[in-house]
């Protein structure tokens, strides 16, 4: 996997979340695409690069990522002063139709790709509502981040655990939307899939562990329906965004 050294412009902390901005003059990322990232100067330790959604991209060549530190790999990425190596934008993102209104639904760090999606919908004049999970345990800094980055979004308080299903209840009648685009916790994705079934087309941003990120290794298997049969698609090239109805969860 080809990685490019990039100039990191800023690292801003919002509670557990870190927004990393870097200069990017390559192909513009499409909403729902991801990049492979590693911290420079650490050789091959950790061995694999880390997949992260393209969070935002502005004219003026500034790309950004939104990261939560989970283990050593993300800790190195979030570290102040750490130089980064970043791939080209990868995978198949959200497939946006021309018709609105649509709903964007997300929670946790997974709200990341919805920022770029909202930007692209705005530019294309497609009417959209944004619903974001606001867990009881979330830091004030993170909620501030949500309000600043998703102006006009409806923040829905959830208690965690069974919160996601409740959260979708709050979104209300899904049939009033042409499409819904979801990037949230595993529970939210599952809840969205069942809530949307037969009501509205839904696209879900799915995560799976990755190694090559270019379709070579078949490591990132996602079960999908193909002609009535369950087969494993690859999150890195067939996704990471999948039609909810196609997922064989």
């Amino acid at each position: 996997m080809k990685l490019h050294p990039v100039e990191v412009i800023s690292r801003e902390r919002y509670g557990d979340h870190v927004r990393i901005q870097y200069l990017w003059t390559g192909d513009p990322p499409q909403p729902g695409q991801f990049v492979m990232v590693r911290a420079a100067g650490h050789g091959l330790d950790p061995f694999l690069s880390r997949p992260l959604f393209a969070h935002d991209y502005e004219e003026g060549d500034v790309a950004s990522l939104l990261v939560v530190v989970r283990g050593r790999g993300t800790a190195l990425l979030a570290e102040e002063g750490s130089a980064l190596l970043v791939s080209d934008p990868l995978g198949r993102g959200f497939q946006v139709t021309e018709d609105g209104p649509v709903a964007l639904v997300g929670g946790g760090v997974w709200v990341s790709p919805l920022k770029l999606l909202a930007r692209s919908l705005r530019r294309r004049g497609i009417e959209h509502d944004v619903y974001l999970e606001s867990p009881a345990a979330a830091s004030g800094a993170y909620l501030g981040f949500l309000k600043e980055n998703f102006p006009g979004a409806t923040l829905i308080e959830t208690a965690g655990g069974t919160g996601s299903a409740v959260f979708l209840d709050w979104v209300g009648d899904l049939a009033r939307y042409e499409s819904i685009y979801v990037s949230g916790t595993a529970e939210t994705l599952a809840a969205a899939r069942s809530a949307a079934a037969g009501v509205v087309p839904a696209q879900l941003a799915v995560r799976e562990r990755m190694a090559c990120a270019n379709g070579s290794c078949y490591g990132c298997a996602v079960p999908v329906w193909a002609g009535g049969e369950m087969v494993y698609a690859r999150a890195c090239v067939d996704g990471p965004v999948f039609e909810a109805a196609a997922l064989a969860w």
């Binding site: 996997m1 330790d45 061995f47 190694a211 070579s216 490591g219």
Partner: protein, 302 residues
């Protein structure tokens, strides 16, 4: 960039390779291989089986110190679907087909098909898979089992080189048995059985095969021991991630070298570039390296 002044060419079973670096089976898509045909001496397909295999349920990969464990389960569309798309491998360098079966008969069927497939220059049989006729014992579990499948494949593949890919366990005895049964080359090594555990979830994360730099010393030892014991060429594989790794395998006795997981973390192009720089600095060609390894000697001057 690879300096074209450096002589990287080698020969393997009569096949001219413009560089000694090949992709390891199952680690490079047809697209990735085509894009790298200028740096790979040949391309190696993912292992193909007679019938389609769905592969294992996720999670299929887990990172480890200096490597990874995979549990892919040979996901592939099966022989006929694969052969229909063989054109995807027309990259200007020779194609080595990796195949595996559940039975000796399946291996034979696959080899017969490859024998008549004009695009295929050689076949690599992946013996790290269970023989369903022998209670699921791996084909590479012992010399008798290796000899049986290799002899049958050798007969089924007239006119084309047969590469036999083995795992580390019992590698010397298995290699000798494979050579005796007609193998034209040995690919050493496949992944090493391994387990990763998620302590917080108190669950197995991935039970599968370890690859990457973690297994390089194991693979080097296998190549070193086996290349000294057999006449046929050995293809080194396991943990290649930088240019000097390629040199180390060739010094240890490999005629060509495969890169697998290393190409997930880096670009094979960079690895070959470093290898060319090494050769340039040493004033050597790739062919000069073949087994040109001195014995260990006490360090002095420290």
């Amino acid at each position: 960039m690879v300096t074209r002044t450096t002589d990287l060419a080698v020969e393997l079973c009569g096949i001219a390779l413009h560089t000694p670096l090949l992709p390891a089976a199952g680690t490079a898509s047809a697209g990735v291989m085509s894009a790298n045909a200028d740096i790979f001496g040949a391309v190696v397909s993912k292992t193909v089986t007679l019938k389609a295999r769905p592969g294992n349920p996720p999670p299929r990969v887990a990172e480890t110190p200096s490597g990874m464990v995979n549990f892919i389960g040979l996901q592939n569309p099966g022989l006929e679907a694969f052969v229909q798309n063989l054109g995807n491998f027309d990259s200007g360098v020779p194609l080595i087909m990796s195949v595996a079966g559940d039975t000796v008969g399946e291996f034979v069927g696959l080899c017969r098909r490859m024998a008549v497939e004009g695009r295929v220059s050689a076949v690599e049989i992946n013996l790290s898979c269970p023989n369903v006729e022998h209670g699921g014992l791996l084909f590479c579990a012992g010399p008798e089992s290796v000899a049986e499948v290799v002899a049958a494949c050798r007969d089924a593949l007239p006119g084309k080189p047969l590469f036999v890919k083995l795992t580390n366990e019992g590698v010397l005895r298995n290699s000798l048995a494979a050579e005796e049964a007609g193998a034209d080359a040995l690919t050493l090594i496949n992944t090493v059985p391994a387990l990763t555990v998620d302590a917080r979830e108190r669950r197995v994360l991935v039970k599968g095969g370890l690859s990457g730099p973690a297994i390089k010393p194991v693979a080097l030892r296998a190549v070193y021991e086996v290349s000294r014991a057999v006449e046929v060429p050995v293809i080194g594989c396991g943990g290649v991630a930088r240019g000097t790794d390629v040199a180390e395998f060739m010094l240890a006795g490999a005629a060509a070298v495969q890169v697998g997981s290393g190409s997930f973390a880096r670009e094979p192009r960079e690895i070959l570039g470093e290898f060319a720089v090494y050769l340039g600095e040493m004033g050597l060609t790739a062919r000069d390296l073949a087994g040109a390894l001195g014995e260990a000697k006490p360090l002095s001057g420290w």
